[in-house]
Amino acid sequence: MSEKKLRRLPLAAAAMVACMSAQADYQSPDGNFRLSGFGTLGAVKTTTNDAIYGYPGQGGGATKHGSLDPDSKIAVQGTYKFAPTVSATSQVMTKYDADGQYIPNINWAFAKWQAMPGLSFRAGRMGAPLFMISDFRDVGYANTFVRPPLDVYGQVPISQFEGLDAAYQFNAGEATITSTFWTGDSKSDYASSLARAPSQVILKRSVGLNVLAELSNGWSLRVGRSQGKMTVKSELADQLAAGAQGATLAGGYAAFIAGAGNGAFAGIGGPAAVAAAQASRAQMAQVASLLNVEGVKATFTGIGLAYDQDNWVGSLEFTKRKTDSYVSDTTGWYSMVGYRVDRFTPYIGLSKIKSDRRSSNPLSASALRSSAVVTNSGGSSSPLYAGAVALDTGVNNVYGGINAVLGTQKQDERTVTVGVRWDATSSLAVKAQFDRVTKPADSQGMFLIADPTTASSAAFMNNKRSVNVMNLSVDFVF
């Protein structure tokens, strides 16, 4: 199917479903098979062209030119009960992905066994319960806001895993406690610029525990923790690591150190240049270990509080991401509150993400003065000149490339959200939402930078900016 066609697909599907209106929820006469679905048709527009707004990882999104891409999606789910205690569920969703395409993806495909009334086991591909609204975050209809706050939900590109889980539910006084233990592997594509193919984030041997306490007075409390072995496959990082370890740079260092150290340069900075080149070579040796993220420990911890009773609805989540790699450690939180007035729910929200730890570039730009030294000693006529210039260029390329990789990890920002949800029918909600995203200097926020080498991208990165995001969406279930 052509890209054009794929781009139109969700639009056509969403329009069709919206026209059908109300419920098309199908249940077989014996009640054992159920087919239902959900979708969103959402438009987003921002006040900048210097960066792209969308879900982190998506290969595109909204600028001053509005876009339907970030939020629009359609999903169908079928569940079949083979026996009163055994069922199978599959969900297929089409949503704008890291490649900037609408390719249907199997979100879930699992079998469930209700071993006892309070104990169930699942196996297959399932939603990873990393957040409070993890496995229904895409169901716009089920949430008050247009999209889960990206300052929190954008921290982890993974939303599903393949493996096993066990859930145990019991009552403790007024509370219903559900604790879920899960384990498995997951992977996801992640676009960090439009200039290159998306990276791949892989989590292996993840284990997690999620505990939810629901009280009958409308409150619920959720605590979750997971950890796994993370691998990041990034074209840019791989090239840089290979270059840093490559024969070209090694040969360049060796030739310069030998040439500049031979005594002829003693009075014009040769020994200092040799020392600088040796330091640079030592720094270069650390590049590969910085950029090769393979099987490192990654953890995600979150606590959440939600209220939904009578006319008030509210939620609060506090989360922490930690990795033993250049992927930064972050803290993300949000809070929101809404009040139902008949079919309208106006709401406000606040959210923030900040880096707790960022890796720094092991190379220093000033470490190498090879071409300067050669220039001092007679410029381009020196036999060392061509090699020195090539060496400087090589080092600078790696230095700049590392900055580009580390730049994607500078995601600090805060968001103020105001919106209203209108329950137009019992299966369709219309939402209008305004976000004001403010990112500090030296951060790209949760935005996608099309090409970090452009001047407008650099200006966006280097300065404090506030961007307004206007959203209008129609969420439905069918």
Binding site: M20, S21, A22, Q23, A24, D25, Y26, Q27, G31, R34, L35, S36, F38, A75, Q77, T79, K81, P84, S87, T89, Q91, W108, F110, K112, Q114, P117, G118, R122, M126, G127, I133, S134, D135, F136, D138, V139, Y141, A142, Q169, N171, E174, T176, E214, S216, D308, Q309, D310, R340, R343, D423, T425, S426, S427, A429, V477
Partner: protein, 143 residues
């Protein structure tokens, strides 16, 4: 696929408003052989809102819902659970699409609810109180 298209949403909504104006008592019913004598609105709501899969007796509940167009349904969810039709739908959208639970089986009429309840000792349903007969046992009345 047999799908329902409610093309006359406006008309239906109008009728619904009229029906709600003339709201009656709704009885929560179980099988006469069920060990349950009474239930609290919280216990019933937990089952119909997908919070709990079990009856207070410890058995897995087998609930039946009336259709969305039914006024007894709106009355039931509003009084027993304090939820509007949209809130009920949103709650079930969460549970359904996260693959955690399936909504109660939907049957067309009060007679079908009674038939469902009479056939299964762990069944639970709700109907207008005026429709209650000896084939079922009332454990809670909401109004």
């Amino acid at each position: 696929m047999k799908t329902k298209f409610t093309l006359h949403t406006l008309v239906a909504a109008g009728l619904l408003t009229l029906a709600q104006a003339a709201s009656a008592q709704v009885a929560v019913i179980v099988n006469p052989k069920s060990p349950l004598a009474t239930m609290t609105p919280e216990q019933v709501a937990a089952i119909f809102m997908g919070k709990s899969a079990t009856l207070p007796s410890g058995q897995t509940a087998v609930p039946a819902d009336l259709p969305e167009s039914s006024s007894a349904r709106d009355q039931f969810y509003s009084k027993a659970a304090g939820k509007s039709p949209s809130q009920v739908k949103a709650t079930w959208a969460r549970l359904t699409f996260s693959g955690k639970a399936m909504p109660p089986k939907e049957v067309p009429t009060a007679a079908d609810v009674k038939k469902h309840v009479a056939a299964n000792v762990d069944a639970i349903g709700y109907i207008e109180k005026s429709a209650v007969d000896s084939t079922v046992k009332v454990v809670l009345t909401v109004e």
